[in-house]
Symmetry: D2
């Protein structure tokens, strides 16, 4: 059987009168949608409509829970206890589960958002709390996390299927972590270089770090940004290159 990879994108981040992203167009090029659940973005109407579009497009539906910080879009780290992490993740997944059931679909995965994603990549206790919340709610859900992170470890430990996520346009450090956004080298601005990096990660399981050495990396799913002028073109390009390389783009098998 040939190689497969998942392409996921954050969706449903509009809120009331505010519109964000190109959800509808992007659906054609991804296999999994991470739907905002109301804490960092997403109102009930947006959530339901996004679930509906994802079902119509045959895209896997995932909960995308975040910190309760609408002004900061869930991007500002906050000191929460593991128990608080457990509860806020459970609440948000449940809300999206309700939407998905009502629309006749099945929830497929969970990917924490923004600061919560980053905190769970390093904080083992928080990662375990999140993994347990997912497992207790529905043990067949797939947990998405940064490749090589504490969240992936935690998911595996509690018995969840996990999906290791890689980034086309971010550079990597020798320990497999992403270069901090505070560093000038954090981003790959050249689309060609970005698609080359991600193709290699998927095909060979390797990435060249900022330190100039190859490391192993698990690339189950590729993060596709939904925002910005070039998001759509980039998604289309990655999708085409994967297909051209004999790699099937499909959601993670739960």
């Amino acid at each position: 059987m040939g190689k497969v990879v998942d392409m996921n994108s954050d969706m449903g981040e509009s809120f009331g009168a505010y519109t964000l992203g190109n959800d509808q167009e992007l659906m054609a090029y991804i296999s999994s949608a991470n739907v905002a659940c109301g804490f960092h973005a997403g109102d009930p109407k947006t959530m339901r409509e996004t679930v509906k579009h994802a079902l119509e497009s045959g895209v896997g539906i995932g909960a995308h829970p975040g910190l309760q910080d609408l002004i900061g879009f869930g991007r500002r780290p906050m000191e929460i206890t593991p128990e608080e992490g457990y509860d806020l993740v459970l609440y948000q997944i449940g809300a999206l589960l309700g939407m998905t059931k009502a629309e006749g679909g099945t929830l497929h995965h969970v990917k924490p958002h923004g600061a919560l994603y980053n905190m769970a990549a390093k904080n083992k206790e928080l990662a375990m709390a999140i993994a347990k919340a997912v497992y207790h709610l529905d043990s067949t859900l797939v947990l998405y996390g940064l490749a090589g992170s504490a969240l992936i470890d935690a998911g595996n430990e509690v018995g969840l299927q996990t999906a290791s996520e890689v980034f086309a346009d971010r550079t990597y450090q020798a320990d497999g972590s992403l270069t901090s956004r505070r560093s000038p080298d954090a981003l790959i601005h050249d689309p060609e270089q970005a698609s080359k990096q991600v193709l290699r990660m998927v095909k060979e399981g390797k990435v060249m770090t900022q330190q100039g050495e190859d490391i192993d990396i698990v690339a189950d799913t590729i993060c596709i940004h939904g925002d910005g002028a070039h998001a759509l073109a980039f998604a289309k390009d990655i999708h085409a290159k994967m297909t051209a390389s004999g790699i099937t783009v499909q959601r993670i098998k739960a």
Copy 2:
């Protein structure tokens, strides 16, 4: 088989540093708990803990969705479309469903809160939207509403089991509606009179209106207030009187 009645109470209305109600003590005298879902009251931690206590007490767990108005405790009517009602109810029930599943329990019922309850008692379109949200999410849930209200009609119409709710300490009008709180006669202040009224509603299916005539009323479930100095004593008393009259207090059979 003897007569049965359900006794329900609003619970889980604490929020963060703020504590409200006597949930723990009250659990012994009721058969169904309506758990606030975060919009008018209730934070994720409070919700999960309330679900846990209800399970330990063998009390039926219900979602208690409200308008998104924490300052007004969901008591201020707001002009929402039926679609907005559908979405906000779905979101909140889902959130509590997640909590309940994670704790190993089963969601039993849904009772709208405050202004949403009152609006759905009279507004047929909103009532239908709420009933559909409940049905689409889980058609085995019981829908609680004011006896004789549009919400009960809507629930029956979409195919849900419904529970007609009566109040011990509220007076009734000739058309079966509650006397408006703006009227000086809205409340029955004498506990004896209140328990007599509710006992008669359950045993005989009759209530004497403010206009001095008896009308028929369906009394599947009694609303027990959780707040206030005498709430606990009153719940205990009603429970004892029901039992003494050969009426079994038990949750609505779904």
Copy 3:
């Protein structure tokens, strides 16, 4: 002295990651900016930056308080008491007053937003509560309200300077009220007809109602929509036509 008129627009309605409106471009064509204060739209950063831009543009700064309903953008009527209206208006004006003082400016006016504006146009008690809140905070502020509304009456009664607002693209009823948005005739879609109507209101103090009769109308200030594809072009056009007719566009003299 020649005729003068104020042109006002709602501004600062962005929120966190969400951008709304064309504030910067529009500033050149208006004389007064109504700045959202955080309840229906507007975060502290957006508020401060909008105040700064208004000061740089020589535009009068007004508070634009709304109902606490971010999801509904403050457009859904809500049953609040006059006292609640007083308090929420006071809170929001104060917040913007702080921003304005810190930026070295002076607050010029107050215009309620959306549902609050409409409710205060008809509900005399709420209108008085809002007028008193403005007066108690700073009796030199100008109160903006719908021409002929209860809010204008209330402002005059408490001793505030008021500014009667007219709309270019809305049709009027015989009693001077706006045609309800639920009616198909609510809006004037032809820009030429809209600018003719508003020019006549300013120059002659007359408007032709949907019932086909002329009525008197006070036109101190024109509402300029900030949103939508044609907002900027329309504002520019109205401004040019006013100037060409010898009418000076300038903020209300407080």
Copy 4:
């Protein structure tokens, strides 16, 4: 002239249906009230009523701005930029300034709340941003902060009058900082020992650290907790002991 000290307490922390604290009773024993401004606690009605009570009691009115985290009561540290700190403090002080002006009073001071207070005690840039926000809004306001903290330094640097705050029931480290709440020695549980410590800080400007050495400490104002069963008795006791020692309890002279 004899020694003076200020006694301050957090107030106005109720929210909607939720009541917290013993504000009314406590007013008799303090000289300054820090009024919550809506982000971590306090709704507009509570704010206005607290301001009114403070004015009636002759107590100095201070803004008590916090992080926007109602569920966490503003106690969870959050990574905010200095600019975000500037804006959120400005917004909240302005809101309370509006309330105070409308009630005919004058705003006296600003004391950040909870996590914001602690963050500003150590983070020099955030401290400067807060101090500037206060200064830009009204340069006559007194800035309250932990004795010896970065916030007091920042206040002095921008030209504000500052008030160094001490705690009766917290233990101190050799560098003048408070013992972390995570340490078992953080709190002084014996009321006698607590009042002795605070009396000595005020009279002698000395405190014995956990390391067993005396250090100098500036004690302009004493933090009086408003919550808990013994808060009122403790406030009364401290007030009586100060007076008995010839120390006048009065607000900081602005």
